[in-house]
């Protein structure tokens, strides 16, 4: 039995070691893969807060991922075409500055999560899954049928957005930036889980009635968690769009929601670094199985089935063995 804290340290260190080794061996593609894993992990960290800590099985997190992506796409496309986003009643211009884009992505996805969460939290259990899935799909169809920003074809951004003091087009610098964002968010989520808010959230997950009895407003608590969760996933969406320099409705697709959920289950539900372990494993599988066979998703499906049926706890759970405190 290994302490989860050590496993987390090893997972984070491995990400750094792999990318520095890749830099040293001049393998920029490996760095890009690592960046992708980090960004997808960030999306899953967001979902993990709602799903793992809060027990809210949202099957619609692609919505926030997509909104984050489109926040980047829309702002950057206006910046690259030198057209203002809006002139009346006041002028808003596009931007290619990442901090601004991140802020917009976080605020936009938080607002969306507030609306969807307020509606979805009126239900629970299986209804909640279906409703979040349906709202996610609504945005997918909206993105397809709204022609202003590329519609079904998506939107290409030719140059990666800028971050003060960095050259984001250099793979290792972009990796470092994404990794730093992930670490900051992980730290915040860790602190949040330890705070009265996090404890109350887990308490409500374990026993809703008891939480209500001690005077916790469970619905409001969950809504706040859902909004934070959506905002984190939205931030990941903005980074993911910047990684690919492309956004399309696929980001809104329900397979994206499923994937984000897969990262969590592969890594370990409600484990701090579970999403990172899961996303990395997914990227490795995608890369190697995808090289072996065009139909690699069959194997992915079988592995996922195995993990769900027989190996609950995922990678981190399997290594740490100890049940999560609130499990």
């Amino acid at each position: 039995m290994i302490r989860e804290r050590y496993i987390n340290a090893v997972i984070l260190a491995l990400m750094v070691i792999i990318s520095i080794a890749a830099l040293w061996m001049d393998e920029p593609f490996t760095i890009t893969l690592a960046t992708k894993a980090v960004i997808l992990a960030l999306a899953a960290v967001g979902l993990n807060l709602a799903l793992g800590q809060g027990g809210l099985v949202s099957f619609g997190h692609a919505a926030y991922f997509g909104v984050g992506g489109y926040a980047m796409g829309i702002l950057a496309s206006h910046a690259q075409n030198y057209t203002p986003l809006m002139e009346v009643p006041f002028l808003i211009e596009g931007t290619n500055q990442m901090p601004v884009i991140w802020l917009v992505a976080v605020v936009a996805s938080a607002l969306l999560a507030l609306v969807i969460g307020a509606l979805s939290l009126r239900t629970s259990g299986v209804y909640f899954i279906m409703v979040t899935l349906a709202f996610g799909q609504m945005l997918y169809y909206f993105a397809i049928s709204w022609p202003a920003y590329g519609g079904e074809d998506g939107l290409s951004i030719y140059v990666r957005n800028e971050f003060p003091g960095l050259n984001t087009l250099v793979p290792i610098q972009f990796f470092g930036l994404c990794f730093a964002v992930l670490c900051v968010v992980l730290f915040m989520v860790h602190r949040l889980n330890q705070s009265p808010f996090g404890l109350a959230l887990m308490g409500a997950h374990q026993n809703e009635e008891r939480a209500r009895t001690v005077g916790i407003n469970v619905t409001r608590l969950r809504l706040v968690a859902f909004v934070i969760s959506g905002a984190i996933t939205g931030l990941a969406g903005a980074l993911f769009a910047d990684l690919n320099r492309f956004v399309s409705p696929v980001m809104f697709d329900w397979h994206t929601s499923g994937q984000i959920m897969i990262f969590i289950i592969l890594g370990g539900v409600a484990r701090l670094c579970g999403p990172l372990a899961g996303a990395s494993l997914y990227i490795i599988l995608e890369h190697y199985l995808g090289g072996l066979s065009e139909y690699w998703q069959i194997y992915l499906g079988l592995i996922l089935l195995f993990v769900v049926l027989f190996a609950k706890g995922g990678i981190v759970g399997g290594l740490a063995r100890k049940e999560v405190r609130h499990g």
């Binding site: 509606l119 499906g301 089935l305 769900v308």
Partner: protein, 305 residues
């Protein structure tokens, strides 16, 4: 817009709704009896369509194709129930979602592997192609009319099965108290497999019937699956009556929204903007409907808390 066109669209909406009912009925039955959320239901829809297309290509008979769809979907349904689904009844919803999502990946990719990525085509039978004259001088596709009739007959059959037969009694008993009917000597695991296979067969039938209107391709079941979820949320989980009402409501709202909204918008804005905004809004209309139902009745129209 003329009345004839409007009636035609209403019939189209009805046809769409009836197809959604076939999907939603299976889902809601499986949820009601076994407490399972089954994402792989869309995969069974696809299996039905592919079985029908293959059988039709081989024998040329549409009736045989429909039978093939029913049998193949029921068989695959029973197979996954026996191997995977059975282990999920006692698990939480997250496990059910993930395991059935994994089944979708396996089914979709396996189908792509066997049949390739290109869509197959399933021709409707000659006897049903062309149009029929309805009272009031409305010409309507014979095939779509047949789908409406088949769907309503299946709905009637399902009501009778559940309300009037011994199997139906056991299904209802299973919804109310699983342990008790087990104690009374009913083999629950056989009952569960049967219900699952029944739901699968309905999905397969629906896939085959729609396959003759649209193309038969990998992933065809997924949009329908999500619409079926919307139907269930609107109708109330576990209620066949709710599934029928929800399905017709969703079918009509979606079809009429797509035709009427652009027309409605063009009355007060220019034509191209009206088409854009109208069709973008139409694609969201059923979800807005769902949100409305959630605000006023979170358990659905026919659902009990």
């Amino acid at each position: 817009m003329s009345t004839i066109l409007l009636i035609e669209q209403i019939l189209n909406g009805l046809q769409f709704g009836v197809m959604l009912f076939l999907m939603a009925a299976g889902l809601t039955l499986i949820f009601g009896v076994m407490g399972l959320i089954n994402l792989a239901h869309g995969a069974l829809y696809m299996v039905g369509a592919f079985a029908a297309a293959s059988m039709a290509a081989w024998t040329g008979s549409f009736t045989l194709a429909l039978i093939a769809a029913l049998v193949a979907a029921a068989m695959f349904g029973a197979l996954i129930e026996l191997t995977v689904i059975r282990r999920l009844y006692k698990r939480d919803h997250l496990d059910q979602v993930l395991a059935t999502f994994a089944l979708i990946l396996v089914f979709s990719e396996a189908t792509r592997w066997v049949f390739g990525s290109f869509p197959l085509f399933l021709d409707m039978p000659d006897a049903l192609s062309g149009t029929v004259m309805l009272p009031g001088g409305i010409e309507y596709s014979k095939y779509r009319l047949t789908i409406i009739i088949i769907g309503l007959l299946v709905a009637l059959g399902l009501f009778l099965l559940i309300a009037r037969t011994r199997v139906g009694m056991r299904i209802r008993a299973g919804e109310n108290d699983r342990e008790m009917i087990g104690a009374l000597g009913v083999d629950i695991s056989i009952l569960y497999t049967m219900v699952f296979a029944l739901g699968a067969a309905l999905a397969g039938l629906s896939g085959a019937l729609v396959g003759a209107i649209q193309s038969v391709e990998v992933g065809m079941g997924e949009p329908v699956l999500i619409l079926a979820f919307v139907v269930i949320v609107i109708g109330g989980i576990g209620s066949i009556k709710g599934a029928l009402a929800g399905a017709i409501l969703v079918g009509l709202t979606d079809t009429l929204g797509r035709t009427l909204l652009p027309v409605l918008f063009s009355t007060f804005m220019d034509a191209s903007a009206a088409t854009t905004i109208g069709s973008a809004l139409a694609s969201m209309l059923i979800y807005i409907l769902m949100a409305g139902v959630l605000i006023f009745k979170p358990t659905g129209l026919f659902g009990s808390a």
